[in-house]
Amino acid sequence: MPWVTRGLADGVVTTRYPARPDGYGSGFRAAVVVNGTLPAGRSDAVVGLCPTDAIRVAREVPVVDPDRCVLCGRCVEALPEVFSFSPALETAHRSRPLEANSDGPLASTRTALATRTRALRRSIYVRHVDAGSDGSEEWEVAALTGPIYDVQRLGVYFTASPRHADLLLVTGAGSVAMAEPLRRTYDAMPAPKVVVAVGTDAATGGPLRASYAGTVGVTELIPVDVVVPGSPPSPFSILHGILLAVGLLDPASTSARVRP
């Protein structure tokens, strides 16, 4: 079969997300959730359990910080009655603290960008920079331009030049050697601009700790607006982060709907 007919053979494979929910969400683990309190008298049960110190305990109730969790599952295995994996496609959230955003609060940045992109029929140009990733986040970001996620259908385009970019996707643990190239890329982007940190590594360094190479996340290198936790986050979560950042999704809504 020649390539041209081969290309038509499978019909449309593209997801309908975000206009409609996608059924793939139950296919993998996207977060660890807490289902109860620690067993009585065992408030020390989580001490040393989490390799990335993502679990904090307040009065026998554990709390999992998604920005630190690398989904290794050690807590789920040790205390299945307390912790469990939750599947989800929409895991992105606003960066904390909001004051860290040099352009003012996230909402105003988002409104400003949304106003401008509306004039551009809502098309958004995205520049990606790797600041010390383990290599897997790049695969998930690159998948967005493939036939299944096809973000071009939503007016989201990847661009080579930061001067054309509205949104900066940053992956990686924030290696100190990438601080300057990352800052130059950010500075070259026109305002208003938003930054999405992709992955637990970008949020907090993930399994890495402070060292001579930096690596405690990119939030100290650049003002981050939206964080997409996950190790790595799925393409759906990354897309959710992009749409959230540019105001195409209502941040208060939990359902996957494009704001009218």
Partner: protein, 494 residues
Amino acid sequence: MSDVATHALSRDEFASTVTARVAQGGRLAHLYALAHAGGFALHAIVVGPEGPLDLATLLSGPPYVVAALTPQVPAADWYERYLHDLYGLEARGHPDLDPLVLPRSNATGPPRPPHPATLHPIPPDTTPLPALVRGEGIFTIPYGPVRSGVFESVEYVIETTGEDIPRVQTRIHYKHRALEAAFDGRSAPDGLVLAEHVEGVASMAHAVAYAGALEALAEVEPPPVAQATRLVHAELERVVNHLDSTLRHTEAAGQAVAHARLAVTKERVQRLRAALCGSRFSRGVVVLGGVSAVPPVDDETFRELARLEIACRDDLRRLLDTPSFLDRLRGTGVLPESVVRAHGALGPLARGSGVDDDARVMRPYGPYREIAVVPSVQRGADALARQVVRTEELLHSFSLVRTGLEVVQSASSDALVTPLPPKLSGHSLGWAEAPQGEVLYVVEADEGHLRAVRPRSASFVNLALFTAAFPRDITTDFAFIEASFGLSVAGAAL
């Protein structure tokens, strides 16, 4: 995997023994340093027909001075630069001790062995590299670290007259994450989580190699179901990595339909992996001594596997029959067998140049001791030969996955883990054949905690050869040569 005995040598004996072993056909597989009272021990692992040999010499100092191995053993090049950066090891006679994983100017001093300065970031240095090739019309193109497209950060300093590329310098320090330091003092299970993040696209191979080192130390074998589960995930990882390399070839060659179709297949393989373990990158599958869970296998699993195999076979065969694709790969990025052997190159890169080394076959570990793997070897030595090797391996991997799934489905015992003793101590070695080539882990444990871990990925070894692939090629071949190497910068920069 083995608990390798270390041969302690004097400084002169060390250099002469390593050189002699390599001259006899051995391959320098690792060169690393372990902190020691008053200095550090320099270790070399040479892999010969009888298996790996660990040679060591004690260095007290500073200054730490040894005779460079690189002039006689080209494979030592990047290791000696790495050790110069991190430990201040001065390899006398090394042709170019330019910093590899640290900035060019480092006033802080070498950060290893660990000392308080290890915690302070070393300031970056953004001054350009000096050009080394001189002549009329020669200029330098700095390509990276931020490149057009979604790539890992790396800088190629291309010295060119416009078309010919006499020299490429590869700067990987942008992604250096201090990984060997990150393992220091962690518990053995925490080390496994780190190993999965050394080279994220080959998490499974890194986890198997790391766990293998500790399992060898404890002299335990994972149960058969665990071995089969590891086989399934390791081979699916190979399929998807080889697809990724092919995808980048098709993108560079403008094969839009092939690119789109293979991208769909790649995504479906990732989804199959997630369906079998919950993670699209097989994270959390391996635990020390076994696996965390048995993959949920039913008839639909086998049907999806068969559909993916057919999709890969049809598209890849068609691709290897498409002249406008083949023309770009044939004769591109030639790496003669002698060069590949001298540099100890690994994986599909070496097998495309006639070197039949595959750890699954030559040094079988875990599941591969029971299951025969047919290695793919080509003699073309160009990007096309590497593509053919990857295509054959990928199709073979499907049958290995099926074998693994059948074992899992018919397993009579449900034991998933052979427990390791909690307070392990000792020095050990583990390996696995990642899609990029052999991954090697040196693990030194003390009472259940990690005293030292020295991961070495195939990407570190093979990326050092990148500059050697260019003498006959021009700038438009660059994307093909990079794709045909199929490496992850994360695994090289450590």
